[in-house]
Symmetry: C2
Subunit: 366 residues, 2 copies
């Protein structure tokens, strides 16, 4: 644990219940330690209540953060903070990114190219089947499927993705309060190959107000969002609105106009969302070179030998086929910025030329 | 029967099997009598075979046309030719309009604002139900539903429209060769309030090559075309292509991506066709003032008192509430061209301010 991670954790503990205030503090103090050391009047001027301002610099808060961090370790969880080099770069782009993500499972799954698959908590058998199939098809091609671990479409998407590859679940509660209860097994399965993440402290209950925030993280992590089934005026349509605000692709699966569960998705398509019949339609909406990389793959086949850009080839040559090289070492050897290097590694991964290992280390695919 | 009608009928009898040649002759000789009197070398230069060129000026052709015309009368059919003032003005706009339409039923139905509803000959129960419902909803609002009298979606559209209002069936065979046989009763029902039309001589068999021509008339008569269900690479998609060529709105009803019968319609939507969930979506795509007129109506209610434009009000004032005034008389009284006047009458009809009577006569609605 770095001191900066602990500072972010403390800041989040003190402010997680007020996202607007938390975002303001993060914007005002790029170093979270500064926020914790800020004079009370300064914090008051920023909109802090007196109690909260006093708590920020308190010994009690730091102790609580240390205790929370110890519990994280005991559970085998890790912490991804805004200060970490592997904080998901798409999530960083949104207006109010979480300053910490509690992570159960493989944090490197957060760095993969991701697509959200969401929808009704009470889907028809059609919606459930489509979510499963689409998620499996995407995951088996290296796309990380992000969803909300909810009943219905979300869980179908996670289960489908698990058959094909990696999936990420974003919770509206703390990692120790998996909701709904019956998805505890699913949550554990997701964490084996992917990750279950939450911006809420470990013991946070699944309060209703947490779910819009959960939805913004689902969209924030993803290049695009596919709504599989949704009634009119449903939460999934709000998620679609968030994705639009985040500048992400909004896609929807059509359905019979006689089905209430397809009313929301058909309406999205009428409003300009891309109609999705299968993974190829999702691939078409991805930015290059991801798009070409995905479409060049054949199911069940080894991806073809990829054509690399000059930058990609340069990075690829520094990698070994046997031992993974950590990101830090790669960064030293290259003339690129972290974000440039991560983008190149991402596209190498998609092209099937590079394999990512735990701890943000990379090797050539053999 | 006018001499010009007989000339068109003769021209059609001689050339109906070769649409390209027929269209060329019609373009070259705006008066069909000129075509019939044209010197053989002139016709040869236009692409006529020797035999066909000789037949054009023959006594035999004229006699055949007179006989065909008599048979039309015996069957209670009428003839709509390019020279008639009530030739459907939208159909006139296409590249190769038929020079005659044999008409069984009420020819004035061809003048109503029309939307085509077409689709698979082997629909699912979903497709059949949607076609029926959509057609009924449109017809009950004064829209003429055009289709092809085929099995499946076409017949569902006709039956649905009959419950609500008027429908027009376009045949790929002669009026005395209704195809498929089991739709003879449907054909008779369509003709009671609407019309069954064909550009083919009375005894023409339903040859495969006739159906693309039938499809161009369906699209030509219509402001827009709705495909309800269609497989990939199906005839309905060709009809949609024709409608695009004709500059008409192309619309499609979405369906479950797991249904082969919705693959064509979902693909159309992906390619830019408007997604249709109900009659309101069709109404939205109609040109003004039809669009507003339709959307202002409430089902089961008398249409609200319409707001008329100056031109509409001027025409409306010349009409009587009891006795219908023929189009010719209206034309004399107005300063408008035929097409302007017809457009104004059309929009008055849609607004519910005017009722059209057989023989293109109009009265105020009481």
């Amino acid at each position: 644990m770095s001191g900066q991670q602990l500072s972010y954790l403390a800041l989040n503990l003190a402010l997680y219940d007020n996202l607007a205030l938390l975002s303001r503090a993060v914007a005002r103090y790029p170093d979270p330690a500064e926020a914790l050391a800020a004079p009370v009047p300064e914090l008051r001027a920023l909109g802090f209540e007196e109690d909260r301002a006093r708590r920020l610099g308190s010994r009690g808060l730091l102790e609580a953060a240390e205790k929370e961090f110890d519990r994280l370790g005991e559970n085998g969880y890790s912490l991804v903070t805004l200060g970490d080099v592997d904080y998901p770069f798409l999530l960083r782009e949104i207006f109010d990114p979480p300053c910490v993500l509690y992570c159960h499972g493989r944090r490197e799954a957060l760095g993969g190219p991701a697509v959200a698959v969401v929808g009704s908590r009470t889907p028809t058998p059609y919606g459930r089947a489509v979510a499963e199939r689409l998620a499996e098809d995407l995951a088996s091609r290296g796309v990380v499927v992000v969803s909300g671990l909810a009943l219905g479409v979300d869980s179908a998407a996670h289960w489908g993705a698990l058959r094909g590859g990696r999936t990420v679940a974003v919770l509206g509660s703390g990692l120790n309060m998996v909701y709904p209860k019956e998805h505890e097994k699913l949550s554990a399965r997701v964490a084996e190959s992917g990750a279950v993440v939450s911006e809420f402290p470990l013991d946070t209950s699944p309060l209703a107000q947490n779910f819009p925030r959960r939805n913004r993280v689902i969209s924030g992590l993803s290049l695009g969002l596919v709504v599989v089934e949704a009634a009119e005026r449903s939460g999934s349509l709000i998620s679609a609105g968030l994705a639009l605000e985040h500048g992400r692709e909004v896609m929807a699966v059509p359905g019979n106009i006689t089905s209430g569960r397809s009313r929301g998705t058909n309406a999205l398509i009428k409003d300009g969302a891309k109609l999705v019949e299968g993974w190829e339609d999702v691939a078409q909406e991805m930015p290059e070179p991801l798009r070409s990389g995905l479409l060049a793959q054949r199911p069940g086949e080894t991806p073809p030998l990829p054509l690399l850009t000059d930058a990609e080839e340069a990075v690829w040559k520094t990698l070994k086929p046997d031992v993974p090289t950590p990101l830090d070492a790669l960064l030293e050897e290259s003339a690129m910025s972290v974000s440039e290097l991560l983008a190149v590694l991402l596209s190498l991964e998609i092209k099937g030329a590079v394999v990512q290992h735990p701890g943000k280390a990379y090797r050539r695919r053999m």
